[in-house]
Symmetry: C2
Subunit: 345 residues, 2 copies
């Protein structure tokens, strides 16, 4: 079975333009797909590559992999406040495997359907297992949740429970041995993260800056701080209180837990800033999106944008609930998630 048959069989489906002639004008099957944003909207474009042994274990269930590959890309759209429109999938795999591809397609297309995201193109080739997705969403440019839009005095918020996915990885690797609802939730968070698209959309006009938490909370908050030329006071006690929502995470030694929460990576939550006057609006957006959010600090004056000292942590001061410096216990691993640091055991 050649590459065209593989793709056609498992992934191609029709795509129809909207009644007003915008959206996906031409889907899969030509040299390029054609997209037209609705009037006043720009297209948000993001790309992510997932490599076996690095972002997932080679023996992962293909359906979970299909879900996650799209989820991590949709998470980038969520962090812009963009509504998913379309995606492309480029796939290298060692040999054609119909059952594996069927599982991958099932996981990817189910999530794509849930978000109205059409698969509009792709490429398949033989090679070491690798998935590269590009997603396209729609957002009014003035409403996009940019990284450079945080303002001094803003509250800092995060969705969900940072650290849970890192616990899921630890469980998968056998670094931790916990059971029960929290442990199962952690595995699910790692393998099948739910991109916070609804929250991103609800935060348009409410939040100032946003980023998705893929490399760890400190690192991704750091991207906002660097781009906005500001610094942050981060309320570690609020984060630990949120972490208690997962009983398995809460059961970990404090130093381990802090490492997971602050620098775990793979969370695919949103970290965002909003004016204190918008606290009720943030909570309303979170309720509308059925997504828990926690206020975890505030934006303070810092080194101006463009003056990059070190990525991330250097612009963050860890505090307790009263705003006093929080002294980390010994042994907290805060190394930002780096894709050149191996993720496999």
């Amino acid at each position: 079975m050649g590459e065209f048959d593989l793709i056609r069989t498992h992934f191609w489906r029709g795509a129809a333009a909207r009644p007003d002639g915008t959206g996906v004008l031409l889907g899969n099957g030509d040299d390029a797909a054609l997209l037209a944003p609705a009037p006043g909207m720009a297209l948000a474009v993001s790309t992510d590559m997932l490599v076996a042994g690095r972002h997932f274990l080679p023996d992962v269930d293909p359906e979970a992999l299909g879900h996650k590959a799209l989820a991590v890309n949709l998470s980038d759209l969520a962090a812009m406040g963009a509504r998913p429109l379309a995606c492309t999938l480029a796939l290298a795999l060692p040999q054609p495997d119909a059952a594996w591809l069927q599982g991958l397609a099932r996981g990817l297309l189910a999530l794509a359907d849930a978000h109205g995201c059409a698969l509009i193109g792709g490429d398949t080739t033989a090679g070491p297992l690798n998935l590269c997705l590009t997603v396209v969403g729609e957002v009014a440019p003035a409403q996009a949740l940019r990284r450079d839009a945080a303002r001094v005095g803003d509250d800092i918020w995060v969705s969900g429970t940072p650290g849970v996915a890192r616990l899921g990885l630890a469980l998968l690797r056998g670094e931790q041995a916990l059971q029960g609802a929290g442990a199962e939730a952690a595995r699910q968070q790692l393998l099948r993260p739910a991109p916070r698209v609804a929250l991103g959309l609800a935060l348009r006009g409410v939040a100032h800056a946003a980023a998705d938490v893929s490399d760890g909370l400190l690192a991704d908050l750091g991207h906002i701080l660097v781009a906005s030329g500001v610094a942050a006071e981060l309320d570690v006690e609020a984060l630990l209180q949120r972490a208690a929502a997962n009983d398995a995470l809460h059961a970990l030694p404090l130093a381990t837990r802090l490492g997971y929460v602050l620098a775990g990576g793979d969370d695919y939550e949103l970290v965002f800033t909003a004016a204190p006057a918008h606290r009720a609006a943030v909570q309303a957006a979170a309720a509308q999106a059925s997504t828990p959010v926690t206020r975890i600090g505030r934006v303070v004056a810092g080194v101006p944008a463009g003056h990059v000292l070190e990525p991330g942590a250097s612009r963050v001061r860890l505090c307790d609930a009263e705003g006093q410096p929080y002294a980390l216990p010994p042994g907290v691993a805060l190394g930002g998630f780096d894709h050149f640091a191996t993720m496999a055991p």
Copy 2:
């Protein structure tokens, strides 16, 4: 050096919106880039993945690789008649290598600059060498050169000299040993193909259907024929006459030469159809784009669209210059280029 530093150092550059507020509104450095097409234009999106040992040899010059990785993607835009606007690059590489990345960036960005194509995003990860590019171009939807637009009676045209890149591969592999201008041109065509963007733009409103020749002339013409529900008579003598433009290609035994010309792959030329009444307009477009074109056949009635028999060749009847059946000599390799068939020696 972490992944952010790698990308920032070698690939990030500013991007500015056009005076009318369209184009690249936000480039690299956020969760997603923001693009807005000019009024009346749609965005054409295409993605291609290149794997070491499959699409290029692992020891290829990184500058040539950077050029080719973008060129094969721009070729898809050319085949839609779209003007390049932006691209993303996702890159897996075994280890960070500043000199190698610098070469890759130089080759890629030089071609991007030549086509006004901004690098708007990317991803870098450790892994077996793999480049995945997504390109975005602009085209008025009604002017896009779609694969399903060929009409019975159309002439069939091809740009450049199909088969030359396949000769280049044979020279690189040591399957052929030729020297001189034609052999050098063949190596260049393989390593540094020039995407036919100017020709694609000039053919808007002139050609009906178009595809780029990446998998071999028969295979890619076949995609047009299947999508349009038509068949073709292909003038093999016209193709051989064109092949004589390269002295090294012309020096090959007939059976080898025919295999290269009809099914060689990696040409990145355009195959397109246009009404006979537009012959002068096609020649004018070719002159405007400084790109040679050759009329190589005509579209005839065939199996309707949707009735896929076999990809490609089954819809093509090979003819001589008088339209009589052309009998291939024994030993012509016409197997369509398949990315699951290895390309490495």
